[in-house]
Symmetry: C2
């Protein structure tokens, strides 16, 4: 670079000829610099490659970067929330200003986020997990992996989270989506570095799903379990070790940042609890945990029903559709309404609205028993600050919180913002569990029931079990059970938590009810077959013959340039099937679109009338379907073998071909037939 | 039954006619009883089915029964070990008798187990996990699922475990195998109860793998992770929820038994530790954990190399082959030799041979620092009982234990007994980790290193990380990291343990080295392709055309009875491909063997010359391979789509068909080509 500057310095002094000469020198210099850079890259690559394959660096980079992003997000959101709290405190005494500060702050943020996302990239709204599931099944959705999307999702999510517990939305879903976007980008970059051209990035995407969860909470194992669960039908063991590796990198980095920022003394859990491990629970309490699980399952079903209803309502109600055209205004309106309800001097005082989501969870997981604490004046003071502002008893306040927040959350789900819906369910579950736990503790500590006198019942454990059970029931997953353990860093209660989650899941899954993500997939018409099959099991038995289009694209072996040109223009398919002859229809193999273009170019330049098979390489078809195989089978084969096109032949004769876009269309058609 | 007895009572008094009449009545009675029983079953089934599908009862039964078996095994083994210890103590003073008690007891038990297993069911020896992996891939191996095998494996395992820490073998592997055997039996029983005929039992087998681990240690999550890892190439999400459910049932029951038997006050972890959770480790200790992981990886590689060498040696050395014909005698000899080495007055005093495996692990995971304890006289006494009999320092004793036990374990692996090889590696890893941990604690507590004065370094945590890392490296799995957490019930150290396990795995997996189970699979010539591919990656790229037999079985559509009879006699294949005609070879579909038999019967009774397609139903082929597809692809398709036969066609013409038995043969051929 120094030499280039020197040459440019001399150029200014001399005439036109010199100028040209100098430009030439500059160009050579840049070429040399490029060469030097390429050489450096090559050396770096060789040096790194000596330790392990380049993909491992990509996995590590993914984990570390996502953890950094997650930490930055948490850090800046905490600052924003602190600023609002400070302002609200400063305005003490002026009711109107306080009201405006409480309501306009989140409303403006959400309006900003909605407008921003709408104008930059409309695909960045929502959770992102349904889209990630679809992409993981093998369907290309480049719009959901663009850098623009990443940028707008990150900023939008920041605004949503900064709006605080009024909007009460989380960060897991968008983080999983962000992680996949970054993974796709990273994959391209590393492929360029290695000088190879990759066709699929699915490996990185699966890893990204695990990293998304792991870096969000510093919880590696539940991240990996999530990546297993998110895979619809089959999980390839090839991804298992990379998922763990990347998730561990992410979780470790996330926790190290907490240490370095001074939040914690050492690498610890995010919501560290202090449940005693000597006698974590009485054996008979298992029955109560099972009951809690069933209860959470039932509540989860109700919530899912409301959610499906509102999804349908927003799509069909004309007034609502008109309102949704102005996304910024709509968001501002809804958030203003929610903020009015949570305003502390109004109903907010009964639902601890001054807590942030993190504080809410910490207070709910408190290992002490609230009902016994409330007799203790000093601790009562501390708790009553948020949970017990008025004269309403603590437990009634908890029940009110639960009732209000559920329908408020259903409403918040209609907001066109990048936001996660997992964490709110986790907190609501914790509140439900706490309510039951406090009741149990009260009953068993005051009187002797069933001949037992239990004085060490911990309502916090019930809160944790409830959190895992409700969030598991709503998403039809079991990883929340492990997440609950990883978040608190205590394993002694793993078995009752797992039991509650299992039972809640069992109840929520019964009767072919779609999960939260399934409902969004169906509502957004995403081509995710497992979601559809869950709602309508009969679909999986439909034969391939039913969904094939009659006029399929095909070429005969001896096709001339005219036919080839026609096909290239008429179809966008990447692999075109080749048959023996028009009459026999015997499938011979397939030819790549690029080969056909080469053939056309060849014919044009040489001005020859050649046959396609003289020039193009006809590749053999490695696996075939028959018209009688089911859609489910076709889907499994395409996902597992990672095929983009699957040919269908009957007795050797080509019947048609199945591509992901066709499967997508079929899904859409099915979705039109079955209304949610 | 009472009525039957009455009838039989009257029969004795009367004559021949009455006798016949009575017999008729009895038969009617039995029929009525059967009907009543069937009616009862139907009612029971309807009653149970109202809550959830019958398969869930099967899963719960599986979990609960295996936990019961596991508990019974532990309980009776503890009694047997206690008896030996008591006898050994009683003989104090008499050196010869003590020697005989120490050596002959395990030698006799192992000789008994070996002879018993050899005579009842030779397939019951070894770990069983390699066989389970093969069955889970879809290959039928009924001999490994028989009730005889289950019986002999259970008794053999009992003898092996009762032989104590001299033989130093574990119970996980055989328990996974026992669990699959019981699952297969249960599956048949429930199918009978429901009156349906099931073709495959793979669902239950996957669940059984999870239950095997979960019920062995009361560790549900690592059980599920194990079942994911054991699946070679793809894990079907269909199994995920059942696995968790059954594993949770197993783990909960196992822990409840511990409570009821009075071992524990409540449902707790098996090896509960008391590491402080306030400051579990200093952030910089992460580097030491990473180093420990790499160290364990290297040790694991050495161990695997020795293991592969001895596997090869036992198969090729003529002397050894002759010795192995007398399995009982061979076992007795080897165990006698091992017992001589561990005899406390001999070298046994330097390797804590008086501890049982469980006590060994408990002492290694102790949260206190041994080097600081040894200054404290009373605690020193307690520890020195086992670890420090002589004047040898504790750490030297630990190093000696490690060195001796590794080669003794390699030798013990040649014993023809049902035994697990996971737990010994876990304990050895714990010893290695303890050694490093004690060293680190000693260095950092005495002096100030790098400007830090660390006084709360816990060697027990290093032991735990070492245990997970070494057992993970040897088996190429990550579930040991979670198992370490579940066994101790403490989550605060999960991240460093996971890190150590990941690094150890990374080192052990590099360079296409087969894992412990892979080596056994290859050695036993089990048709498990993923094992082979790990050792010889080039195999996966072999095309199907290479492995197809030239003369494949086929029928033409218009085949007569003579041809059909010929095929039925010549082949045992269940699905026979049907071609259009001998000349065209166009694959039309396939016909079931049972249909062909029906056709032959039809022709015989009606004495007609009919064509096959008039009578038999020709089923369409749902998926096809081409000769150019790879073996890996064929394997994936057969496992994922759960096919027993896959037809191979080229341009619609039948080329051959691929069955599991053919894949098995191919694996065997490959194994002959590549010597381990």
């Amino acid at each position: 670079m120094q030499r280039t500057v020197k040459v440019e310095g001399s150029k200014a002094k001399q005439g036109a000829y010199d100028d040209m000469h100098a430009r030439h020198v500059t160009r050579l210099q840049i070429k040399l610099d490029n060469l030097l850079f390429a050489d450096f890259l090559l050396k770096l690559q060789r040096c790194l490659g000596a330790v392990c394959g380049m993909q491992w660096y990509a996995y590590a980079t993914l984990g570390i970067t996502m953890a950094l992003l997650s930490f930055l997000m948490d850090f800046s959101v905490a600052k924003m929330l602190g600023a609002q709290q400070w302002l609200y405190g400063q305005l003490e005494g002026n009711f109107l200003l306080q009201f405006l500060c409480w309501t306009l702050y989140p409303a403006c943020l959400c309006a900003l986020a909605a407008t921003f996302c709408q104008s930059i990239c409309p695909f960045s709204t929502g959770s992102g997990i349904p889209e990630v599931r679809t992409m993981l099944a093998g369907i290309d959705m480049p719009l959901y992996l663009s850098l623009t999307n990443m940028f707008s999702k990150f900023l939008g999510l920041f605004c949503t989270l900064a709006a605080g517990s009024t909007v009460f939305l989380g960060k897991v879903g968008p983080f999983v989506h962000l992680s996949t976007m970054f993974a796709a980008y990273l994959d391209n970059m590393f492929s360029l570095l290695q000088g190879i051209k990759k066709e699929k990035t699915s490996d990185m995407l699966v890893v990204a799903a695990a990293v998304g969860v792991a870096s969000c909470f510093g919880a590696p194992v539940s991240g990996v379990l999530f990546s297993v669960e998110v895979m619809g039908s089959h999980y390839s063991l090839r991804h298992y070790f990379p998922c763990f590796f990347s998730a561990a990198c992410g979780a470790l980095t996330f926790r190290f940042f907490s240490v370095w920022s001074g939040d914690m003394e050492t690498v610890q859990a995010l919501f560290k609890t202090n449940f005693p491990s000597a006698l974590p629970f009485y054996p008979l309490e298992i029955v109560l945990f099972a009951f809690l699980g069933l209860l959470c399952g039932a509540v989860g079903c109700c919530y899912l029903f409301c959610h499906r209803w509102i999804l349908q309502f927003t799509k069909t109600n004309p007034l609502f559709i008109r309102m949704q055209t102005e996304k910024g205004l709509y968001s501002a309106g809804v958030v203003f309404f929610l903020a009015c309800l949570t305003f502390p001097p109004s109903t907010g005082q009964y639902m601890a609205s001054e807590y942030t989501t993190k504080e809410l969870l910490t207070s709910l997981l408190d290992c002490r028993q609230w009902s016994s604490l409330s007799h203790n004046a000093s601790v009562h003071q501390e708790l009553s600050l948020k949970w017990n502002t008025s004269e309403m008893p603590l437990l009634l306040s908890l029940a009110f919180f639960l009732l209000m927040k559920i329908w408020m959350l259903v409403l918040a789900c209609t907001l066109p913002l990048p936001a996660g819906y997992f964490m709110p369910m986790f907190v609501l579950g914790a509140a439900g569990g706490r309510l039951l736990g406090e009741g149990v503790a009260h009953v068993f500590s005051t009187g002797v029931v069933f001949g037992h006198h239990w004085d060490s019942v911990y309502p916090g454990v019930y809160a944790l079990a409830g959190a895992a059970a409700l969030s598991g029931a709503v998403t039809h997953t079991l990883s929340p059970a492990l997440l609950a353990v990883e978040l608190t860093g205590q394993f002694s209660h793993a078995v009752p938590i797992l039991l509650a989650t299992l039972l809640a899941n069992g109840l929520a899954r019964s009767g072919n009810r779609p999960s939260f993500y399934d409902a969004i997939s169906i509502n957004k018409k995403l081509p995710h077959l497992p979601s559809l099959v869950k709602a309508y099991p009969q679909i999986s038995l439909t034969t391939v013959a039913h969904i094939l289009e009659k006029d399929s694209v095909q070429l005969q072996k001896a096709a001339g340039p005219e036919e080839v040109r026609h096909i290239v223009v008429a179809s966008v398919q990447l692999q075109i099937p080749v048959v023996d002859s028009e009459d026999s229809q015997i499938l011979v193999g397939f030819v790549q679109r690029s080969e056909l273009l080469k053939f056309l170019h060849h014919c044009k330049t040489q001005n020859l009338q050649q046959q396609m098979d003289d020039v193009c390489c006809i590749q053999p078809v490695s696996s075939l379907l028959s018209p009688s195989s089911t859609v489910d089978m076709a889907y499994s084969m395409m996902s597992v073998l990672e095929l983009q096109t699957l040919f269908v032949a009957d007795k050797g004769k080509l019947v048609g071909c199945l591509t992901w876009s066709k499967v997508m269309n079929v899904c859409k058609i099915f979705m039109h037939i079955f209304v949610l």
